[in-house]
Symmetry: C2
Subunit: 229 residues, 2 copies
């Protein structure tokens, strides 16, 4: 009687193992360059057995991407405790840790391509962007964002993506510098928009007032004053 | 003897006409939704005749995209005259005019998709990004950019793309505001980076010093001071 249960568990465990093996390989080489043969070998099973668990290469890739997307989206979850700048710094630290861990897989996903440019994968990428957007809004304390705030937050998310992609190409700048810089970039982009629009200014002023003297936003002001002098 | 010459001209003219008709249709609906039948009807020729000039739907789309890419890349060309901020404002004005004219075609291209996600189209998009990057660098007076400058300029280009895409979705913000804001965003992102890195500060200070009191960068400082007060 228990054989069926064990067998069902075994299938799911094997699927999870194959996903883990695939993600590990994608962290070193682009998914386009990783074959099912390699995944089978790394998992210690035969190629036909891989196809027993996943009907095709794309279905394994999509399952791997789904797990990675859920992991990435979860990294934007941050408790609503303490100053905003410090929260965003912790989020950026986890985001860059993900980018660092997944390297070529992250690049291939964001740039699209034969193995990763399907409508399923595009929908997964969009769901991560949406999760990031909603998290940022919740930390800004806004539930019904005006058009300008939506634009700043969504375009900043795309700035964070491209910053990560460019950083991966050679890792020529310390990661921590970019984490802090991206938080300050969000502050700068919000400030530019608030400079043009009173509704944005009304949203932004109380947020900035709550920031402590040792947070990233105060740090930015100090650095800009030093730059101007 | 002249028939061959006239005939060759006719083919090229017809190809150019079909490209123009396609781009006009893509400015109102996504390329995915525009059929060869519609292009043939709008051009006043039969469907088989379209295939005489272009072997398939994709080849016509790629030719249309190629012309649009060359048009877009050319809009980044700006004489090296007058203050930097004013030059960049003119470039952003031409960029947004392109986005405004091409609407759905621009969105489809930047988001990828069945008709526009080929490696040829990706290469064309990358070539426009590269042209924009090189133009901006030349206006900054830098030929051998440090890693941080490359990152700021390239990530700002992606910010400009996503700003344009979000703007197209409803056009809820005046175009001119975003043109000016994007120029100020570049200044802000450069300043944040210069706040972290002395090499960037050394590059940026002389550029800012040359800016007049009525340029977009001075305008940003005025707006930020008003915001902080």
């Amino acid at each position: 009687m228990s054989t069926g249960v064990r067998r069902r568990m075994g299938v799911e465990e094997r699927r999870q193992q194959l996903i883990g093996v695939a993600l590990e390989l994608f962290s070193r080489r682009s998914p386009d360059e990783v074959s099912i043969d390699e995944i089978a070998a790394a998992a210690g099973i035969s190629r036909p057995l891989v196809y027993h668990y996943f009907p095709g290469k794309l279905s394994l890739y999509e399952a791997a991407l789904k797990r990675a997307s859920e992991d990435l989206a979860s990294r934007f979850n941050e408790p609503h405790d303490g100053p905003l700048g410090a929260r965003l710094l912790r989020v950026m630290h986890r985001f860059f840790a993900f980018v660092d861990e997944h390297g070529p897989g992250f690049s291939a996903l964001m740039r699209g391509g034969p193995a990763v440019g399907s409508s399923t994968t595009n929908a997964l990428v969009d769901s991560v962007r949406q999760a990031a957007y909603e998290q940022i809004l919740s930390h800004l304390g806004v539930s019904d964002p005006p058009a300008r705030l939506e634009l700043v937050v969504r375009s900043w998310i795309s700035l964070a993506e491209s910053t990560a992609l460019i950083w991966l190409d050679g890792r020529r700048i310390p990661r921590e510098e970019l984490e802090s810089q991206l938080v300050q970039n969000l502050g700068a982009l919000l400030a530019v928009s608030a400079g043009h629009d009173e509704e944005m200014a009304v949203l932004l002023r109380p947020l900035l007032k709550q920031e402590p003297g040792d947070g990233p936003f105060a740090d930015l002001v100090t650095r800009l004053v030093a730059l101007a002098s």
